[in-house]
Amino acid sequence: MPDIVEIHNLRKAYSDGFEALKGVTLNIKQGEILALLGPNGAGKTTLISTVCGITTSTSGSVKVGGHDTLTDYRAARAMIGLVPQEINLEPFEKVISTVRFSRGLFGKPKDDAALEKILRQLSLWDKKDSQIRALSGGMKRRVLIAKALAHEPRVLFLDEPTAGVDVELRRDMWEIVADLKADGVTIILTTHYIEEAEAIADRIGVIAHGELLLVEDKNKLMARMGKKQLVVQLTKPVDTLPKALVSDAVTLSEDRTKLIYTYDTRAERTGITKLLSDVAAAGLVLTDLETSQSSLEEIFVGLVKEDAA
């Protein structure tokens, strides 16, 4: 797939000297879901705001669909939809009129059929004549998404779309995102929820202190950086590790009934066969085997800590 968003060496420095973005370079493929993870103040929202034209960059360039966001901003912005972090809506407006306004702002002629499709997709059609102030928080978030989709963008930025929403609504949002992806929309979302990125993203970007630490395919990232553990449950406790099993990779649990073997999923040989042979040779009897993989959260925390150090 070709790159639909090309960010090159993007910098944003404020007048007080604070550098919110320190030369971010990032290409986003058409039709993918990219999750940007990062702690508070990492630069996630600044990055999105700069791409969308809300914040002016200090240097660097951004292209959307091959259009420069500064020199060819009309064509570039026409392709972008933005769902902001805060629920920014006019309380006395009706749902349909605020969505219609968004479509008009992007220069698209009135098309009630298209808006009906979007509102139905977001379960908002029944509320189309309701004032925004009468809606629940979850519904308001859906209205924000409807406004961002009103002009049928090809790239959608979701800035922490599920922050502060309940589990059910979060799952609904994930379904909406999956549907949009199926329609060919490229989605870039920022989130604090690692499980969100793990559940819906194709690629993960980790940003901290204005720098993009990595961008990688989610599965590859987990395979590359994730360590796996094999827990061998023994029938009875052992006092010490048998000599053949002593190594950095093997530890004994506190209750001395489990052997914990950590191995690298990328290695050609995991060493599991030898471990089990050694266990048998040492006369240990096992009752169960269990494997576990480090989560994205552990990877993320590790990366951010590494960067801070």
């Binding site: 404020y14 705001s49 809300i54 570039a76 220069g107």
Partner: protein, 253 residues
């Protein structure tokens, strides 16, 4: 030019105006009627003609200007300040529209609202006094120019304002005194010589004078001077707005 965006902003703002009908129409009509009762009937009955015009009729152009100027400013300043206040301004900044289109939408709507109110006050005035408009074409031109120029000024105030207090500050502390002291209710020639000179530094004098000339053919300052003054003010506001959007002052981070 993204005309669809311009009309979207315009219609959105006008819808807000019609949604608050009482505040939009009844309030200016009521306050104008009160002015006519107090200044026209109560005080005006004790004042002789001013420059050959009955006092009740003399104050009509000033009253219209008073409302049109304040309404242009408040509508335009609120129109752009409110999206800033509630955060929906992000939508304007991320849309494929130029600053000219944003200004056309907001200022156009604010000027239209003020024009409506000006016309309503004029119609109301016909119920209280006999008025003849000598130069209707120029009356419309002056009215339009005033609506547009002060809506531009209001737009600047809306962008500048950081809170609701600041939004009211300039209209209350500067514009209202300038309009009241700009000959709304009297002729500049009725003032002592020193104050006549000082009054010529008040830009509103030129507007009211020109507007009054379009009604009665009598003016405190030459009509051409009035036209230049309002054109200059419009140009100045446009230049400031151009600078605001070029630098992103108070709008874009």
């Amino acid at each position: 030019m993204n005309w669809i965006a311009v009309t979207s902003i315009y219609k959105f703002e006008m819808a807000r105006f019609f949604r608050t009908m009482t505040q939009s129409f009844v309030s200016p009509v009521l306050s104008t009627s009160l002015y006519f009762v107090v200044f026209g009937a109560a005080i005006g009955s004790r004042i002789q003609e001013v420059e050959g015009i009955s006092y009740g009729a003399f104050i009509v152009p000033g009253l219209i200007m008073l409302s049109v100027i304040t309404q242009s400013i408040s509508n335009a300043s609120f129109g752009i300040y409110f999206p800033k206040f509630i955060g929906t301004v992000f939508e304007l900044l991320s849309a494929p529209i130029s600053f000219i289109e944003i200004v056309l939408g907001y200022v156009g709507a604010a000027a239209t609202k003020a024009l409506f109110i000006g016309v309503i006050i004029l119609i109301t005035a016909f119920f209280f006094v006999d008025i003849t408009i000598l130069h209707p074409f120029w009356m419309v031109i002056f009215l339009l120019l005033t609506c547009v120029s002060f809506a531009l000024f209001g737009f600047i105030i809306g962008i500048w304002a950081g809170n609701f207090e600041q939004l009211q500050l300039v209209p209350l502390l500067i514009i209202t005194p300038l309009v009241f002291l700009g000959g709304s209710f009297y002729s500049i020639s009725m003032l002592p010589p020193v104050w006549q000179v000082i009054s010529h530094f008040n830009p509103v004098v030129y507007l009211i004078s020109g507007f009054r000339w379009s009604f009665f053919g009598a003016a405190d300052v030459p009509i051409v001077t009035s036209l230049f003054a309002i054109a200059g003010f419009t140009a100045l506001c446009l230049a400031v707005i151009w600078w605001i959007f070029r630098t992103g002052w108070r709008i874009r981070q």
